[in-house]
Amino acid sequence: MKRRNFIKNLALSTGSLLIADNLLAETLLPPKSKKLVILHTNDTHSNIDSFPSNHPKFPGMGDVAKRFTLIQKIRSENEHVLLLDSGDIFQGTPYFNTFNGELEMKLMSKLGYDAATMGNHDFDIGLEGFMNAKKHANFPFVCSNYNFSKTVLANETKLYHIFKKGGIKIGVFGIGVELNGLVPKDKYGETLYKDPIETANSMAQLLTDLGCKVIICLSHLGYDYEDKARISDLVLAKETANIHLILGGHTHTFLDKPTVLNNANNQQVLINQVGWAGVNLGRIDIDIDKGILKSSTLEVK
C-alpha cells in the first residue's frame, strides 16, 4: 500500500518523475567515476594573508587566495572533490579580533568548503559570537559529541552530514576536544561534552547502516600526547570501528606522511593533520574499489 502511494506520488507529474529518475540514478546506480579527492585543512587560526617573506618557519606561506587557486585547479581536474576543515578557524590574527570571525566564514564559503567541525578556539567569542559568524557560512558544521541542545547553538550544527558523489555516499561527522579547563565556562555555557570514542563508534555505525562507503571523522582531539591515556586521534583510531579517515587538528602537527593504524576490527584507518595557519592543504585520493590510492600534503606558497 505504501509502495503504491509512493509510485502514485512519483507519477503525479512528468516533472516530478524526471526529478525522481535523476535522483535514483544519482544515488543508487554504479557511478562512472569512482575516484574521490578529499582536501582538508585544520587550525587555520584566522590566517588570511601569507606569512611575511622573512618569517623564520613559513616564509610567504599560507595565503587564502593561493589556497583558492590550488583548490580550483584540483576541482577542475577531478569530478568528485570534498573540502573539509577540522576546526580552530578562529583566533590568531587581528582579522578575528576586528571582524569576529565573519571574514573567515565568508572566505571558507567562497573556497567551497563542504563541511567543518568546531575547535576549542571557535568558542573564543562565545556561542552567540560563533552563531553570528556562522550566518556567513554556506556549509554545515558537524559536531557529534558537543550537545548544544540547551544553548543558542541548538539545531545550528549537525551530528553528521552525508554527501553523495558519483553515486557513492560519504559520511562525515565531527569529534571535538573536552572544553572544561581549555575554554572559559562562560564561553561554552551549557554545552555538554559526550565521550569521543562512544560517540565516534555510534556515528560510524549509523553512517555504515545508512549505506556510506567512505566514513570520515573530522577530529579536534589532537594527534598524540605524552600521556598515552589521554584521548587523541591515535587512541580514537585504535578504539573505534568503521571509520576510514580521521582528519585531525588541535596539536598543529606536521606529519611527513599520514599515519595508518589498525582499528578495533583490525581494519586500516588513515590519520592525517597538516600543521596549521593554512600553510598546507591535505589531499587524499580514494578509489571506491581500490582503496586509498594516494595521500599528499600540498604546500600553499
Binding site: 594573508d49 593561493k66 586509498i292 594516494k294 595521500s295
Partner: protein, 229 residues
C-alpha cells in the same frame, strides 16, 4: 518504466553491498608543490576592503619606542614593560594590606617591538590572544614554589618581584604578610604553562579586562614606552 528502475536499483544495491573496508593501497608521502602558486585575483579583491580597514586601524601610532623591545630570558625590556604596565594599570587606585605582584609568562609575549613608532598592530602581535586579567590571592608559603618555577624556566615577566642569587622576594611589602596577590592572566591561573602553584589560590578576582587592552591603554598614557623602573 518505474519497474525497470526498481530492478536496476536492487541490482545496483547488490553490487555495492559487497565492497569491503577501504584499505591503504598507495603512496602516502609528502608532495611539496614545486612552483609558486598565483593568488586568485577575485579572492584578493574580496579581501582587500577588510585588509585596508584593518591596516588603517592597526597602523595607528600609540607610542614611541626609543630602543628595540625584545623578549630575552631571564629578563628583558619588553618583559619588564609588559609586566610593569599591567602592574601600574591595575594598582593605580588599589590599596591593600597585602602585597601585590605581577607574574606573566615569557611564552605569552608573542613578538618584539621595533624601535620607532609603536602601533596598535604591534601590541596585537605582542599579545594576540584574548587573555583576561585576573587577581589571584596565594598564601605566602607559595613564594618558594614560584621561585623554583622561575629558576627552572629561566625567567618570566614580573613586577614588584625580585629574583637575585636564586632567591625570590617581594620588593614592596608590608611586614610579615600571610598572603599576597598576583596579577596575572586567566590562562596562567587555570594551569597554563604548568604554573601549578596557582591551584593553591585562596581568592580570585576576575576583572574581565583583556590583557591586550591594558597594554594599549598604558602605551597611550606613556607616550614613550617605559621599561626601567
Amino acid at each position: 518504466m518505474i519497474l525497470r528502475k526498481l530492478i536496476l536499483i536492487f541490482a545496483g544495491a547488490g553490487l555495492w553491498a559487497c565492497s569491503s573496508h577501504l584499505v591503504v593501497n598507495g603512496n602516502t608521502n609528502k608532495e611539496p608543490v614545486a612552483q609558486t602558486i598565483v593568488s586568485d585575483s577575485s579572492m584578493v579583491s574580496f579581501i582587500k576592503p577588510y585588509k585596508d580597514s584593518l591596516d588603517k586601524r592597526m597602523n595607528e601610532v600609540l607610542a614611541q619606542a626609543e630602543v628595540d623591545f625584545i623578549v630575552q630570558r631571564p629578563a628583558s625590556n619588553l618583559m619588564n614593560w609588559v609586566a610593569n604596565a599591567l602592574y601600574t594599570n591595575q594598582t593605580k587606585t588599589v590599596r591593600l594590606s597585602q602585597p601585590v605582584v605581577c607574574l606573566l609568562n615569557t611564552g605569552g609575549i608573542r613578538s618584539s617591538i621595533g624601535k620607532g613608532n609603536v602601533t596598535l598592530g604591534d601590541i596585537y602581535k605582542v599579545m594576540p590572544f584574548d587573555n583576561t586579567v585576573v587577581w589571584v590571592e596565594l598564601p605566602i608559603e607559595v613564594l618558594p614554589e614560584i621561585e623554583t618555577y622561575l629558576l627552572k624556566s629561566g625567567g618570566e615577566p614580573m613586577a614588584n618581584l625580585s629574583l637575585k642569587e636564586g632567591k625570590l622576594s617581594i620588593l614592596s611589602s608590608p611586614e610579615n604578610p600571610t598572603h599576597f596577590w598576583v596579577i596575572t592572566s586567566d590562562y596562567l591561573m587555570n594551569g597554563g604553562d604548568k604554573m601549578t602553584f596557582f591551584t593553591k589560590r585562596t581568592n580570585v578576582n576576575e576583572t574581565g579586562k583583556l590583557l591586550r587592552d591594558v597594554l594599549i591603554e598604558e602605551a597611550r598614557i606613556q607616550g614613550k614606552l617605559i621599561y626601567e623602573y
